[in-house]
Symmetry: C2
Amino acid sequence: MKKLIIASTSTLHGGNYLEYLLPALQDHFKNCKSLVFIPYARPGGISHDDYTKRVADFFAKLSITVKGAHEFESPAAALTDAEAVFTGGGNTFLLVSQLYKTGVMTTLEKAIQNGTPYLGSSAGSNICGLTMQTTNDMPIIYPPSFTTLGAVPFNLNPHYLDPLPDSTHMGETRETRIKEFHQFNTQPVLGLREGSWLDVKGNTILLKGDLPARLFRQNAEPEELEAGSDLSWLK
Amino acid sequence: MKKLIIASTSTLHGGNYLEYLLPALQDHFKNCKSLVFIPYARPGGISHDDYTKRVADFFAKLSITVKGAHEFESPAAALTDAEAVFTGGGNTFLLVSQLYKTGVMTTLEKAIQNGTPYLGSSAGSNICGLTMQTTNDMPIIYPPSFTTLGAVPFNLNPHYLDPLPDSTHMGETRETRIKEFHQFNTQPVLGLREGSWLDVKGNTILLKGDLPARLFRQNAEPEELEAGSDLSWLK
């Protein structure tokens, strides 16, 4: 049975890394002693080692030891054998490029289908959708494909940002960008605000956290989905 | 001799379409009676016809007739024969995909090198750089390449946005995104604020408008370049 936490962000403003998710993660990873961390998205260009250390420091609180995927001779095989997996945020183009280059995309998809508990934040959540095409990131690397894990049957927009009411900036709002996406793509897009996450257990998908999420569907007005909603119907 | 206006935005807050550029465009296109408009970026999903009409309405003020690239049997050939060219803003991934699909990327590059006066705004400016990898847009379409016209020997970030001082949003700032780009790419990136444009004549590149631009170079602190600066040295 699939078991995922798909979080909009790793960190809330004024909080510490993954802190707001601690109770949920204690439950999610309760039978795990070790975790493979996928550091490929490298936020701000941080090294794989430094990023993995940051994550290991957090998971020490849960008595879970962390090893970075980059530390294994075969990262793809490491994912097959992993007791638990976390993919951190950063740049989605870089992450997806590395997932394909290392063969991890395929073994990670299988591991998730086989029930390995998974945590994603930001870019690590983006890849849980059908494609990475609703990322907010810059295309700093050309990936071989935009297709991602499809662990949920729609796309995600993490760090969803409402239009700023007093903005004089003429660049597109997030909503305009997603509307453009729907000119060419049919799948729903779920805008997850910071502090929201999806709890996936088998075919059940629950919206967690205190905030509503914003749902965009092709040829329809956007809808607000209340915190706590069951999204199992969404595809 | 190359002759380009590369504008951050088509429209200033509270202004009309291309209005702030009118004096510059009167000079830029002073010997032109007709212009080919490239509508492929389709902002907000607008149709090619509607987008071309918006542009034609503006250029009527300059007594220039406008035809959309999509109206020609061979858009690529139309670019070779064009008296002047304007590429409008919208989604850069969509624009670049269409430029490759139609063969316009190649003929447009040659037309610019041969001195056909060119105007770009937003996505239409992004493609003047070496690659489209510093766009702000969503990857709604998978293009065959990120390589663009290279009409200037660096990359552009239109609609450059300074970090908001009171923001509690944890998504990456524009500066962080460009820093990530420089982990993997060496070319300079020029952040053009709304209201700024580059005036390119042969090898001379001048920064126009009232605002400074922000220059990002690999392994260096960002710099502010004053309005009016000569950027011909930049590569």
